[in-house]
């Protein structure tokens, strides 16, 4: 087997959480010693190997140990057990402009950063123009970086890291910043580095970027490596686990706010259920069948009542607010107990967390019998589609008739 670019064996890293941190002399004298702390394992027994020229994505929730692992590989944190071996020069982009000196100009920071990565000044001079061109900062390169916008900061940081010829490049969540066109150029540049046989480790919440860039993925959870293997498989497992976790959470939220009968005049909602393709669920995919079932109860036959449903996104946007049809219900008498269904054959909602506001009102007076505000949470995923927004609008594009390319040339 050829030598690995990165080889991590049984790596463990422990952190101290201070309850009472004695950092001043007085505290130390009063409390004797360095204070109370608890230890916890941020990374527990992780082993992996990255071959030269391949790209590894590390995924996982916040606090799962991804960044700690990356810092151990970078040599910033020293593991408590296990070993890390990196072959070749390493560049780590752990934070926007890490290692920048705010008082320094962009130009000076390029040289300082290069030196921190262990590069000769003469080499940095030879790639200086490329770095500046890539970052599009030529007009600002002699200004102190403290005057830069966060976008400029990150452009310079990224340009430096990718031009300083690293054998191993570690990237932590930086692509999220910057405008679309710069992000695209970053991705192109990473592809180029991959093609040159450089090794890349990429930590991200953005599963899309991991899927696009990485050959293999490592899924971290509470300090443990849960899965390691081809990106498609690991990301799939991760998404399934996240969804299962969220479904449980949403169900718990639903259960935590029990729907109680007995609104005004004894008219109330007894149960709410969301039904998807395969039965009751809180997770939907755009285009899935969607059905809301509202079970109500009343002391006697229910006359002149109207049902209201609003679909409210997490940020307060009301995607839909719909009452039952007034004219059809005005004189209709409903049984004392029953279930009202609202169905949507193909859910047009796009990615987001939604809740329902459900009420029953009296026709005529317009007074609420009962009104349940933002209950029944459900998550809509939009996968394998490029539309973003609140909902699909039945949109269609039409393009001009195609022409043969030689005619337009």
């Amino acid at each position: 087997m050829p030598a690995a670019a990165i080889e991590v064996r049984s790596l463990r890293k422990r952190f101290r959480i201070y309850h009472q941190r004695n950092q001043t002399l007085k505290q130390t004298l009063v409390h004797r010693g360095r204070g109370m702390y608890e230890e916890f394992w941020a990374v527990r027994d992780v082993t992996f190997r990255v071959e030269p020229g391949s790209t590894l994505g590390i995924i996982g929730a916040n606090g799962s140990g991804k960044s700690t692992l990356l810092k151990c590989v970078a040599g910033i944190l020293i593991p408590d057990a296990g070993s890390v071996k990196v072959r070749g020069r390493l560049a780590a982009l752990l934070e926007i402009g890490s290692g920048f000196h705010p008082e320094y100009s962009g130009r000076e920071n390029i040289f300082l950063n290069g030196a921190l990565l262990g590069l000769p000044r003469r080499y940095i001079r030879s790639v200086f123009d490329e770095i500046v061109a890539f970052s599009e900062l030529d007009r600002f390169i002699d200004n102190p970086v403290k005057t830069y916008s966060s976008g400029q900061y990150m452009r310079l940081g990224f340009s430096i890291a990718v031009h300083l010829d690293p054998d191993v490049l570690l990237i932590d969540e930086v692509l999220a910043v910057g405008d679309q066109s710069f992000q695209q150029r970053c991705l192109d540049r990473i592809d180029q580095l991959k093609a040159q046989g450089r090794t890349i480790v990429f930590v991200s919440h953005g599963l899309g970027a991991v899927k696009d860039l990485c050959d293999t993925a490592l899924w971290m959870d509470h300090g443990d490596a849960l899965a390691l293997g081809p990106t498609e498989r690991v990301v799939g497992e991760y998404v399934a686990a996240v969804n299962a976790h969220e479904a449980v959470r949403l169900e718990q939220e639903m259960a935590a706010r029990p729907v109680l009968p007995g609104g005004r005049a004894g008219v109330g909602i007894t149960e709410i259920a969301l039904v998807g393709r395969d039965g009751p669920t809180a997770l939907f995919e755009t285009g899935d069948p969607f059905e809301l079932r509202i079970a109500y109860s009343a002391p006697g036959p229910l006359r002149g009542a109207r049902f209201y449903v609003s679909v409210v996104r997490e940020d307060g946007v009301v995607a839909l607010s719909v009452p039952t049809d007034d004219s059809r219900l005005r004189d209709r008498v409903l049984p004392p107990r029953g279930t009202v269904r609202l169905s949507i054959p193909a859910l047009p909602l796009l990615e987001g967390l939604f809740r329902l506001t459900i009420g029953i009102a009296e026709i005529g007076t317009g007074e609420w019998y009962t009104l349940l505000d933002r209950i029944a949470p459900f998550r809509v995923h939009t996968r394998d589609r490029e539309e973003r927004g609140v909902a699909l609008l039945g949109q269609r594009w039409s393009l001009p008739e195609p022409v043969d390319s030689w005619l337009s040339a």
Partner: protein
């Protein structure tokens, strides 16, 4: 469920364009860059810039000369003018105390770098001490007018100067490494160091002549002071410096100078060991 097997991914190795260089060469380049940064950071944002490095010792020399020579009537070894004696000592002391106080905060004040970039962090402390050395070498220009005004003798003993620069450098680096590492864990150290340096200044014959200590070496207080005075390696560095610069003599107290050198190297050894051990948790603690 933890996957323990190694994974193997096909590789396409490509050539690196940067010529390989040894760790020493890389660290030297980085040190040069850090020193450049530290020196410039000091002068940036101050109107008089480098002038302060020169003005500061002159102002202090004036104050101390008035207090110790004019008011208290101190006389200095070999009948050397008070101003020449005090300035010479002050230049050495300024270097040493600057180096120690810059070094103390060197790791903590670069927490951004330490948390995010892997490189030999010890270079931050080396750089702080070296930046103080650069200031010192600039400030030595002040000796030229002193030599001219007071008609000090130029002698072959001046070849001792490099040794007299290296010893306090090594000493400051040793003390600085200990304090830099300690400061990460106990933030009060920075303030204590300022007080400590003031005490240390008065334990060194800079503003007063060394024979003053011998003259008062009686009683418990006198003995204690005298002990620390002799124990202090800087005493011997400053005395040798005074001999060489103001009197044109070879250092009169060879044994003291050798002791200072041994003390400096010993402290450097301790500093390196302690720093190396403390370094393991720097990125978490800064």
């Amino acid at each position: 469920m933890a996957t323990k097997e190694f994974l193997a991914v096909p590789s396409a190795a490509g050539p690196a364009r940067v010529p390989p260089s040894g760790a020493f060469a890389r660290n030297r380049e980085l040190l040069a860059e850090l020193v450049r940064r530290d020196v410039r950071a000091r002068y940036r944002g101050s109107a008089l810039g480098v002038l302060w490095t020169l003005l500061n010792p002159i102002l202090f020399m004036t104050v101390y000369t008035v207090v110790f020579s004019v008011l208290l009537g101190a006389t200095y070894p070999g009948g050397v003018p008070a101003a020449a004696y005090i300035l010479t000592g002050l230049l050495v002391w300024n270097f040493f105390s600057q180096a120690v106080s810059f070094a103390t905060s060197s790791v903590l004040s670069n927490s951004g770098l330490v948390r995010k970039v892997a490189f030999p962090w010890v270079l931050l402390t080396v750089s702080a001490v070296t930046a103080a050395l650069v200031n010192y070498l600039i400030s030595l220009v002040l000796l030229v007018p002193i030599f001219i005004i007071f008609k000090l003798p130029l002698s072959l003993a001046l070849v001792m100067l490099p040794v007299l620069v290296v010893i306090p450098y090594v000493l400051a680096l040793g003390v600085g490494l200990l304090l830099a590492a300690g400061n990460v864990y106990f933030r009060d150290l920075e303030h204590l160091v300022q007080v400590g340096l003031l005490v240390w200044l008065y334990l060194t014959p800079i503003v007063y002549p060394p024979n003053l200590v011998a003259a008062h070496d009686h009683g418990l207080g006198g003995h204690i002071f005298s002990f620390f005075f002799r124990f202090n390696p800087m005493t011997w560095v400053v005395r040798a410096m005074e001999d060489v610069i103001t009197r044109g003599l070879w250092p009169l107290h060879w044994h003291g100078l050798v002791y200072a050198g041994v003390a400096a190297v010993t402290l450097l050894g301790c500093g390196v060991v302690v720093f190396h051990r403390a370094r393991r948790r720097f990125a978490e603690e800064v």
